[in-house]
Amino acid sequence: MTPEELRDSRAARERLSWLVLLALAVLVLPWHQSLPAESAPIIPSALGLAAEGRGWLWPVVLALPLLVWASFKGAGGRLFLGVALAAFAVLLVQGFTVGLRGPAFDWLTILFPVAGQGQTGLGWGGFASGIALLGLIAHALALRGFCRGDRFSASAVVFIVALLGLFVFYPILRLALAAFVGPDGEVALGPFLTRLFAPEIWRLDCLTGGRRCGVVINSLVLGLLAATICTALGLALALIVARTSFRFKQTLRALSILPIITPPFVVGVAIIVLFGRTGLITGWGAEIFDIRPTRWVYGLSGILMAQVLAFTPITFLVLLGTVEAINPTLEEASQTLGAGPVKTFFKVTWPLLRPGLAAAFLLAFIESLADFGNPIVLGGGYEVLSTRIFFAVVGARYDLGNAATLAMILLTLTLVAFWLQQRWLGRKSYVTVTGKSDAGLASTLPFGLKGVAWAAVIPFVAFTIGVYAVVLLGGFVHDIGRWDLTPTFAHLRTAFDFEVNASGLQLYGSAWNSMQTTLLVSAIAAPLTTLIGIMTAWLVARQDFAGRNAFEFGTMLSFAIPGTVVGVSYVAAFNVPPVDITGTAAILVICFVFRNMPVGMRAGLAAFAQIDRSMEEASQTMGAGGAATLRRVVLPLVKPAVFTALVYSFVTAMTAVSAVIFLVSARHNMATAYIMGRVEAGEYALAITYSTVLMIVMIICIVLIQLMVGARRLGRRREFQGQKAPAE
């Protein structure tokens, strides 16, 4: 067979597979999740349902013969693409117009009386037909030259766009809509405005001596303070590491990943243990200085402490990058021109640092706004947006409309900060080094500045050590909360007791359930996240298709959406047909995949920038389609990025709380949700024990991932033609 015939037969086979899937989907598989019992048809497929009076499903069923006919007319033709697009549109329209309680328009009930019964969420048939139609659309597009005619890439683009649409943008739209829904289910501007301008959101009473400020004000005050302190500390740390003869540079770098693998709440708990009313430090204060113990730690100051601890490593890493990128020759030039070290620092170094500072500040600000774990443990009466949203959805006064409005405010604040950050990062180019930094030695810090930096860093480091000591110790002593340090494994037992007996392994511990779910969900989510992230990066870096820039922007944007907002938006979107998946384990996996995918994508983009694309092109000219090229050439070369993405997505899935807290169910509980329950019940020791175990499990998993991914095999010589030498 000539390559041409081979290609045609392969294409035909793929087309046939999609058509078969579509046939299965509309003829055999159950279209809905479940049906009202009184109307259960013999065949629950679209065909069966349509025949029994649900006539709005006919267009979906008829798409099948139409597509078969059109494919005989030429799958590369306009007709085929048109039919496939129309069929997909019909699928969407029927899903959104006929809801759980009947159709959105009365005339539909007149046309199809059965529509009044409504329909539940899509089932296997519904989803499969959506997938098949998207596959056919991608197929037709590729035959018309989309993605340089590569069918795999075309499918990848179409499916990723569809997934992002469904799991990132659609929920946000639903959420925005929910903000306008009044108490009687009507959509109107009134309820939204009432919620938006509610005094408990914007009140400024705390400034005028009154009692409490609104949540937005609280969030902003917290965010600005946290960002300022984190940036200052991050800068001090970065300057000490980069500009003094500090010896533990690598250690500090390694330690800065600690907060990433620290489960939420545990820092908060440790702070309570140290500074709470019966806390250790509080006790010392009372004993030595006779300070009356108070509950000062609950509120702004406590949250601030926890956030500083959690986000300073992030600002540190950003600023370390900036400081190291400053070309020493600039500073040397200034010194040779007669400026002293202090003057050089403020006239040369400082201006070069400013963009990095802005970026770090905004990053910490975004993180602080999005933070949920610390405010909920340490907030006391200090409510911020994320906790208020949580209580509006989960608490006793369920009010989705209000939660949605607050979430939209939070989203707006975050996006503005994100946008500003992008602008600053865009401008920072003049800071970066040109090639390898020429000989020059970085100037050391002026003496006074060094003092200031150390003065800031030492308490911070002591504080960090204290907190992590409590975390490490707390799980294995009798009651860390009352400072009863008798060693014990009791907490470990409560959580993870097990027994191996005649009937096999028996798990008694109360935490096993959530631990298993967490591990399973993370283990499924991590490779999927990595795959989609790297693949998206590949499409953005290497493929040439209409709308590529919008595509890249959309994926990056999804990273800026705070977890709490994602959580509520999923509640708003996936609790109702057509996509009704709340309470499943799938929604947990999906939530992680689309929240963390941008990280995989960034790692991928960085890797692709270093790899000559002609290797992939060579693979293509040798007959490998997109899939084979990706598997055999691309992935082996971007292993480090794959590793980063896997580890990051795994760890985040294990420790994330803000989004999943809305999505967990009794059947599928996650470790973090379980820990939150223990914290709320005051069982600090158990919470700490569980967190410690989680951290150990994560470290083991990281090592396992490292072993599985393995190293790149690139040969003895460091540089070779195919790949540019990696940037230092």
């Binding site: 390559p3 340089r148 005619g149 002609s614 693979s619 000219t621 040798m622 389609g625 003895r716």
Partner: protein, 343 residues
């Protein structure tokens, strides 16, 4: 034409946004021919080559390979071999794996693919290197692996994008000879991109001179050198003196230059190769004055001031040099001036 057509471009245009990289090119390449795309940087050579490979799809127009319309067909579904400027060897595969990659991807059994790869490696003089990684080969060896990898699948067309730009000048002559020899031996149709006109003259059956996305002229190396169609081609291939003047009654005149020239009367431009200008000391017509005389090892190069242009002339070493400042008479053989269009 009776010979089979391997590649055909009909009105092929490639746009990137609003920029036109290839502008309505029509071209056909016969089977077994080696055609070179030659032109200044950014003229669209690489883009044209990638259009053949399928690494770009045309914005409009039709590309045919072996009689089939492949305009919207992906690279992986055409049967082409390509040698990249950077060689693009897979750094994580050894030589054998690199060469047997294509057959394996196309479904040939592993053992058979390897056997075939061995055979090609042997023919191309890389025996014994098959277990090395590309990073353990010299530049020249890498280049040969890249060629082996491209021809192992007997492609309909073999594409080269500046394959010699990473080879040092000495080796270049040898390697280009090898490529030409290989192409003839396997009876391959080849398209070769270069911006080095000497390389193009040496290896090609025909040369396509490109200019700003369009074809300036197609012809054999000799055609292009001896009968350039435009001042651009004349100037780009070899050195040319371009002289503007008037044609009346079959004679071209510019100042004291008066040579026979066919074609219609009116304003015209001619190209005069430097080596076709004969110099003799003394006054005469057309006359000139030697501005400089440079020793170039293989010949003398003169700059001559005349009433109609600043001329470049080159004379063999066997002639005695003429000192700068000397008045000279130019003798121009009747066949030397070539009428060219202005662009």
């Amino acid at each position: 034409m009776t010979e089979e057509i391997a590649i055909e471009f009909a009105n092929v245009t490639k746009r990137y946004g609003s920029a036109v990289a290839v502008d309505a090119i029509t071209l056909s390449i016969a089977k077994g021919e080696l055609v070179t795309f030659l032109g200044p940087s950014g003229c669209g050579k690489t883009t044209s080559l990638r259009l053949i490979a399928g690494l770009e799809l045309p914005t409009s127009g039709v590309v045919q390979i072996a009689g089939r319309d492949v305009s919207q067909r992906a690279a992986s579904e055409r049967n082409v071999g390509m040698v990249f400027q950077s060689y693009a060897l897979f750094p994580h595969m050894n030589v054998l794996e690199n060469v047997s990659y294509g057959p394996m991807i196309r479904g040939v059994a592993k053992a058979k693919a390897r056997a075939h790869a061995y055979e090609i490696l042997e023919q191309i003089g890389l025996k014994g290197l098959d277990m090395r990684l590309p990073s353990e080969l010299s530049g020249g060896q890498q280049q040969r692996v890249a060629v082996a990898r491209a021809i192992v699948q007997q492609p309909d067309v073999l594409l080269f994008d500046e394959p010699l730009s990473n080879v040092d000048a000495k080796l270049r002559r040898k390697v280009r000879g090898e490529i030409r020899e290989l192409q003839k031996r396997f009876g391959l149709t080849a398209v070769y991109v270069t911006h080095d006109q000497e390389e193009a003259l040496a290896v090609s059956d025909r040369i396509v001179v490109m200019q700003a996305g369009r074809i300036a002229q197609i012809g054999t190396p000799r055609d292009l050198y001896e009968r350039p169609a435009s001042s651009f081609v004349a100037d780009f291939i070899g050195d040319a003196n371009l002289i503007s003047g008037q044609v009346t009654a079959g004679r071209f005149r510019a100042a004291d230059l008066d040579v026979p020239l066919a074609g219609p009367d009116g304003a015209a431009q001619i190209s005069l190769r430097p080596e076709r200008i004969i110099l003799s000391a003394g006054e005469g017509a057309p006359s000139g004055r030697v501005r400089s005389c440079t020793y170039l090892g293989s010949h003398w190069e003169y700059e001559i001031e005349t009433g109609f242009a600043e001329l470049l002339a080159s004379r063999p070493m066997s002639e005695a040099p003429i000192a700068p400042g000397t008045a000279v008479t130019l003798t121009i053989p009747e066949t030397a001036p070539i009428r060219v269009t202005d662009i």
